[in-house]
């Protein structure tokens, strides 16, 4: 994995006392902070894709990243589980904390980290294996449990992803034969079976029809009881519907980050207002 990263040391790890959100444009207080992004910048070669981002991810809430296409939403999301590491020529500075631990530290276990912070992609990407094998994949790579309890886990995660009734009779047929929204649900099931703590979703509904989108949104609402969710969407209605907090990105900058209600009813920045009222984007 060719990667070059520069990680300047910016003082001591930040201790997150109540009410102390240095540089954060948040008005209200987030009660339980799960992740914190500090002074994050990212370059693709010479291209400065993320500029000094500061924000917090609240536990058991849905945080949405909105903004026009190409503004850096996916890039920001992928810094949270270090998926940008696999891209050549990416340079990152700043810090990201998960429970006060810097995930960009040298000695962080990358596989452990990605097990804790799972990801759902824009295009559903079940492996070209059977539904069963897709689900046991995470169990196998992380050596979770005995085979005897796998079936139980599989049923549970499929029920949690609202897929059980659709596939219970064909667990051993190919995952590629499922419909698009079933595939996306399978990807969610494949993720929650290894019990991550944070789920990152990159436009998970953009390839789905409105009804399937509704279902995934409902699903997200039930999942937030157990998981911390960050969702990227270019669909503002979706952000307004599902999220608790929203961050508005423009050209690599986090213009505004706040309660979703505030963002959509009383944005502080003119550019946010222009975007949510549909004046551009």
């Amino acid at each position: 994995m060719g990667r070059s990263m520069c990680l300047p040391i910016i003082g001591e790890p930040v201790r997150m006392a109540q009410g102390e959100h240095m540089g954060s444009p948040l008005r209200g207080n987030i009660m339980d902070i799960r992740m914190q992004i500090k002074d994050l910048s990212l370059w693709y070669g010479q291209f400065h894709a993320l500029k000094n981002i500061n924000m917090e991810i609240a536990e058991n809430r849905i945080t949405a990243l909105i903004g026009p296409s190409g503004c850096g939403k996916s890039t920001l999301l992928r810094t949270l589980n270090r998926m940008n590491d696999i891209i050549d020529g990416v340079k990152i500075s700043g810090r990201i904390f998960l429970d006060n631990k810097d995930i960009y530290q040298e000695n962080i276990g990358l596989t452990e980290l990605r097990k804790k912070i799972g990801m759902v992609f824009q295009h559903p990407n079940p492996f070209p294996l059977s539904i069963y094998e897709n689900l046991t994949y995470g169990l196998r790579i992380h050596n979770i449990g005995e085979k005897s309890i796998w079936d139980e886990k599989i049923e549970k995660c499929l029920r949690d992803a609202w897929l059980w009734d659709d596939v219970k009779d064909k667990l051993h047929s190919s995952a590629l034969d499922l419909s698009l929204d079933q595939k996306q649900k399978l990807c969610i099931a494949r993720l929650i079976i290894i019990e991550p703590e944070v789920i990152l979703m990159d436009e998970p509904c953009s390839t789905l029809d409105p009804i399937a989108t509704m279902k995934i949104e409902e699903l997200m609402n039930t999942l937030k009881k157990d998981y911390t969710i960050v969702i990227v969407t270019h669909n503002m209605q979706q952000a307004a519907r599902v999220s608790d907090y929203s961050g508005f990105l423009l050209l690599g900058e986090l213009i505004e980050f706040d309660d979703t209600n505030n963002i959509f009813t009383a944005p502080r920045d003119k550019r946010t207002e222009d975007y949510i009222t549909g004046r551009f984007g």
Binding site: M1, G2, N81, M83, I86, D88, L110, T111, E112, L113, R114, K115, G118, M119, F121, H123, N125, P126, F127, P128, L129, S130, E133, Y137, G138, R140, I141, H142, S173, S174, L176, C187, R190, L191, I194
Partner: protein, 282 residues
């Protein structure tokens, strides 16, 4: 408009004549060879191990076994080697190095087979004679030389298959916390499976069909080998060695050998085609 039509027609004719030539060759081989099947019978021709043209004994079984042994040997040595190389090139190798290595491997395909044979005779056979025994010119020597010769075929086709696997599978797997190797082993290779199988089958076809290098290094004795250190004759060697002076029934028997080879290669290529066209499925 007229000119367009003319060009179109010309190319059509050229394409047809190429096909026609191919058909002609096929018909010719079958016409020349069919006699031997009629005269001594299909079963005897294929399954008798006795080949003594002067005594009118024409049985291909020794040569068939020779081809089988040498080909299997070449696959046992060559396939793991080739697949390791293509997996390394596709998944682990820095792009810069891959850009140099890949053409270098493809260059291997351009080396005339007589050169491989020559190296086999001069270096490989004496080594085998000295350290393992036997005459040196043997199944083992043939298999080793063929193993090298099938590398470019197997590597480039399996490499294409690995490159064709959508990047999203790797990302999905890494995002679940898999290591690079786990992703390759558990997702990418299974996804490329049909292409990889096709590459092996095509390598097999190359091994079955190779003649010059095999004649030079494998000893050409007409008998069923009992060990990899014994010399063997393959179907292709049989034709090349004897066609120069064969007449009558002998000549027919050699064309019959050609027919057998033709059918084997057709079967292998069809199988490879079916595998490359097959959608990833489970």
């Amino acid at each position: 408009m007229n000119r367009e039509k003319l060009i179109e027609k010309t190319f059509f004719l050229i394409a047809c004549s190429a096909l026609f030539l191919l058909a002609l060759i096929t018909v010719f081989i079958f016409k020349e060879g069919i006699g031997i099947f009629l005269k001594i019978g299909f079963a005897k021709f294929i399954f008798s191990p006795d080949w003594a043209p002067s005594q009118k004994q024409f049985g291909l079984f020794s040569m068939i076994m020779g081809s089988v042994w040498i080909t299997i040997g070449a696959l046992i040595i060559g396939v793991p080697l080739s697949l390791s190389v293509s997996i390394f090139l596709a998944e682990f190798c820095p792009k810069k190095i891959a850009r140099i290595l890949k053409p270098a491997i493809e260059l291997l395909a351009g080396i005339p087979s007589v050169v491989y044979g020559f190296i086999g005779v001069v270096i490989l056979a004496p080594l085998i004679r000295e350290y393992l025994g036997g005459p040196g010119l043997s199944v083992l020597a043939g298999s080793m030389v063929l193993a090298i010769m099938i590398l470019p075929t197997v590597i480039s086709i399996s490499l294409d298959a690995l490159h064709a696997v959508p990047k999203s599978y790797l990302e999905g797997s890494l995002a679940l916390g898999a290591t690079r190797w786990q992703s390759v082993y558990m997702v990418i290779i299974p996804a490329a499976r049909s292409g990889i199988i096709a590459s092996v089958i095509l390598g097999m076809g190359r091994a079955v069909g190779e003649t010059m290098a095999v004649i030079m290094v494998s000893g050409n004795a007409v008998r069923i080998p009992h060990s990899i250190l014994e010399p063997v004759r393959t179907l292709t060697s049989n034709i090349a060695l004897e066609l120069g002076y064969a007449t009558g029934m002998h000549r027919e028997a050699l064309f019959g050998t050609g027919m057998v080879l033709f059918v084997i290669i057709m079967i292998l290529n069809t199988a490879a085609y079916v595998f490359t066209k097959r959608k990833v499925r489970k």
